[in-house]
Symmetry: C2
DNA sequence: CGCGAACAAAAAGTCAGACTTATACGTCAC
DNA sequence: GTGACGTATAAGTCTGACTTTTTGTTCGCG
């Protein structure tokens, strides 16, 4: 599940990181390394390593004679999977989920189009397998099983696109789907239309029909966005 | 220009990071902290901080009794601006530039569509100003001036989209445009058609025509991709 | 000959303390 | 009020000793 549990500094990060992304220390707040080290009961060296990592995420900035200041939100490395996870665990998960889903709307259709051209036979097989798995878990409170296949499906599409930047969004999509299933009030069973669309996408990719794969995937992800907007406000 | 020049550990990063992304230490290679500290003439504490940062970028993994091993390329945090910069400075800049431009193709049209709906009057003004600035520098070897306005233009569109994830791609686009201008063999003057398109995009956004803004931006970014493919091979 | 357990070595991890350096802020002279 | 100067502060750096985990080897037993 969590990535940075390794080592003392990782443990500190998992406590301090979410605090910052949650806005517990608003941008401009100043923290002192020594004080933090005391609070988390670690040596300064360990604390410094943790601060360095937060700094590399652009969450904080460390300056002499000043301390460790929290940077404005719009400077954070919001594509860092760790940051995404921390933010999704926080209070403004809904807005976060929406931002990410909009990103999906932009990326995934294009990725599916490319996948239709570049996917190997093996990837096509895996894709249909996932789609069938989704169908199999689409009725009767099997949300967990459905989720697993859903994540795998989208990951394969992104990988099959052949574009490295798309492929690396697999983790992001996984987090979004998992967050939606676990934390949102999800309908008892997934939307049957969405299930059908996934099957059709798999078929379009196998057939090499880029245009169809793209527009079908657009429907999938637009549907996901719509579902999100139903559950939370915002225009 | 560079972000992590601050402190000794930042200096180490700027030397070691590029080496890794350049493939100088292939995935699976094992480095030892002490050895690195000696090589860069810094203390182990400083070296450890640098390694922690590389670890947070998923470039390396540090394990006891083993050392610091370079992770497979497909696990790197390729959205980290620092990593992007390192890779763009390396040998496989062409492929990198292409991946990023394909990402632009997916994201920017959607962002422009949203910008048409969400942009403030001030943002619209800035946008037209940038477009006019591009026109003004479109002829007579004024590539640097053109670049500045080009970057600003796309950054404004991404910001005006109102989507945080899009907005944070501003730096990425800036790197791509700068890389294209500085390192690729660029035509003497920018494509006149592209310049016109930018002006039209600005107008469409101001008019609130989302569909038009989206399709015009798609032309812009597809043109950029085509230009890239002309200069380097690959199917 | 194969296999498991105990052992030893290696490298990261952790800590404490002393020292250096940059810099924000207050003070004082003008 | 403005500028130069000094000082206090917190990060930055280094060193050395110690701990912990893990790998690989060796040795004994079946």
């Amino acid at each position: 599940m969590s990535t940075s549990g390794r080592g003392l500094h990782g443990h500190v990060l998992e406590r301090l990181g979410p605090s910052i992304t949650a806005g517990e220390y608003p941008p401009g707040s100043v923290l002192r390394t020594d004080e933090l080290a005391q609070r988390f009961e670690v040596s300064r060296s360990v604390m410094r390593e943790a601060v360095r990592v937060l700094e590399s995420m652009h969450l904080v900035e460390s300056r002499r004679r000043v301390g460790v200041t929290v940077r404005p939100t719009n400077e954070w490395n919001v594509y860092d999977p760790q940051v995404i996870r921390w933010r999704l665990a926080g209070a403004d998960r809904p807005r976060q989920l929406r931002s990410l889903t909009v990103l999906r709307c932009a990326v995934e259709p294009v990725a599916a189009g490319l996948a239709a051209k570049h996917a190997t036979a093996e990837q096509c097989a895996e894709l249909t397998e996932c789609a069938l798995g989704m169908v199999a878990h689409s009725r009767g409170h099997k949300l967990e099983g459905y989720l697993v296949h859903d994540i795998a499906f989208h990951r394969i599409v992104l990988n099959a696109s052949g574009n490295e930047m798309f492929a690396r969004l697999g983790d992001v999509v996984a987090e979004v789907l998992a967050g939606r299933t676990h934390h949102q009030v999800m309908f008892e069973d997934p939307d049957p239309a969405a299930v059908t669309l996934h099957v059709q996408v798999a078929e379009a990719v196998r057939a090499g029909d880029a245009g169809l794969a793209e527009s079908l995937t657009r429907e999938v992800v637009l549907g996901a966005l719509q579902e999100l907007d139903i559950l939370s406000p915002e225009g």
